[in-house]
Amino acid sequence: MLTLEEVTLRLPEGFTLERLSFALEPGRTTALVGPSGCGKSTVLRLAAALLLPQSGRVSIGSQALTPRNANTLRHHLGYVLQEGGLFPHMTAGENVTLMARHLRWDASRVHARLKELLALIHLKPDHLARRPASLSGGERQRVSLARALMLDPALLLLDEPLGALDPIVRHELQRELRQLFRALRKSVLFVTHDIAEAGYLADDLILMRDGRIVQRGTLKQLVEAPADAFVSDFVAAQRQLADVLSEDDVVAESA
């Protein structure tokens, strides 16, 4: 669905991707994980042609992305940013339907698609009449997701979609996203630095470090057969609630 072949990108800030290659299988959810600055968001921006590689090839389906065909190919992908990137001067509904109206869908088609999305994303119709500033963070991410899905793209790209949400909303949306990804059967590539979230939402994880892929596999494979010390450190760097509670006891006793 999405293929990167020998992609090299050097950014002026000094960041570099060297000859990066991987492919996404159709209908499967893949998580890009890694510490900050490892290049995972950059990969997503390459996939949406927001950045162009200095060498190598990025393809959507069978077509290589070029500046000429980028806008057409972008109709086949949905893109969700951490803060949603909603247009503040439009209502939620206008945000969602903007591209469809720009492509001159007729009103009944827009309406029918909107109705499907409301059910799928658990949005209330009255949310659609409101501007982003008067929606909660979770509601904004739902609107952003609806906007990404409006044209029914084959590929969904999500850049830390839940990163800015409080824990309860985040927990709830994780559950909904898991159901959604399974129901839609689209190719999904999402970025997170939370290995548990990655394992919960995706059965295919790509762990990156310094612009290179360190290991690819299921969460189980990463935990049980880490490729190197970095992978085991990264996987281990998840604080378990039980550990935290026992550490708290130690602090309390010594005080």
């Binding site: 806008n71 190919l73 501007r131 500033a133 963070g137």
Partner: protein, 501 residues
Amino acid sequence: MRRTPAFLACAALGLLLPGLAAGQADERDSSRVVIGSKAFTESVILGEMMTGLLESEGISAAHWRELGGTRVLWNGLQAGDIDAYVEYTGTILLEILREDPTTDDSRLEALLAEQGVGIAARLGFNNTYVLGMRETDAQARGIRRISDLRAHPELKFGLSNEFVARADGWPGLRAAYGLPQPEPRGLQHDLAYRGLASRDIDVIDLYSTDPEIEYYNLRRLEDDLEYFPRYDAVILYRHGLRSDAVEALRRLDGVLDEDSMAALNAAVKIEGRPAPAVAAAFLSGRLGTDVTVRAEDRLRRFVDRSLEHLRLVGISLGAAILIAIPLGILAYLWPRLGELVLAGTSIVQTIPALALLVLLIPWFGIGAKPAIVALFLFSLLPIVRNTQAGLRNLPPDVRESAVALGLPTFARLRLVELPLAGHSILAGIKTAAVINVGTATLGALIGAGGYGEPILTGIRLDDMGLILEGAVPAAILALLAQGAFELAERRWGSWEARNGD
């Protein structure tokens, strides 16, 4: 889209319409004779006199009063915007033709003819530097000529700072006449009159038609060695002016001497009588011509000035909006080009307003046209800069979302980027509008009318009421423009006001 740049266009049109409505045809009726005058009392009285005389002969005439100086009038005459005005021979030779000021009259007329200009009449007075004394003193000592001062070394001189400093002023005068008096102290011209009245000083320099000559009862001392260049007042007209008008103007040949001109100046400047009435009274007394003086209608005048001002501001600002926003967009899309555009508009901004107005006269003549062009140029920078900055400073996640949706560049600008930059663009237009309203008052210097006209007349006559008649509405208009755009900005940004997180 509900919030497309259509709103912006409406705001622009709102300002533009009153201007266009007031924009009665600028093309002049070719049979109408246009008289010009400079921004000082004597020139305005003479302009009224010429206009009144032509009208009494059944020739349609208009008076373009208080234009900003020799260059403006001369260029206006060359461009055919005005047909005739009063100039002084010394000024023609020194400032316009750059010739020796002692050039004789027939040579002067030949030089003018090369430029397509003729002299219709010599009014009969010479408005140059002279030395003056109290009439009673001069009589008692028998002083008539500057040479006579040689016999009176006890006389105290009080000369204006400028006259003391100029090589062709006091130093040259003393050398030419061999005057024995000690080095005089320079003082301010108005103080010199007062010092003369209080007998602290005895001799001062003045212009030979100053109204104060009459008021303080002074005697002009004859320049018997002809030291000062001649500044004979002559009516210049452009070749091509209808011959009956030239004939009519010839009737003013030799009708005024220094005393009568000074008396007319005093009637306007010291007694405060309106210039048209003073000119009409002189014409009927001297030439037996009957001139009807139109009654002054303050309200009508105010409405006219307001419409003229709105027209200057409206057309120039409207055009600037239409040009500067696209320029700002280009500057945003192509940053290299943007630097050029911003540099260009910044350079225009550094040209002093009056200099730009005068520079534009050769292309646009005098009147509203060059003023509108100058105001247009001055309005570009704030709008271009704010358009570019507003677009560049949009939140990056909003721009990325718009790109990732697959919106082409221009759809993205129209639907997302311009509406979001609208706030900044409106602020730029507001800045331009406020600068524009203030700068438009300078338009009066080149005959563009507006609120600058009463300000100029007020400065000339030292009449605070008249100055305020122009300055107050100009200030109010600037405040209104500011308020209107601030309101528009607030409405534009209303989606940011409610923050429901």
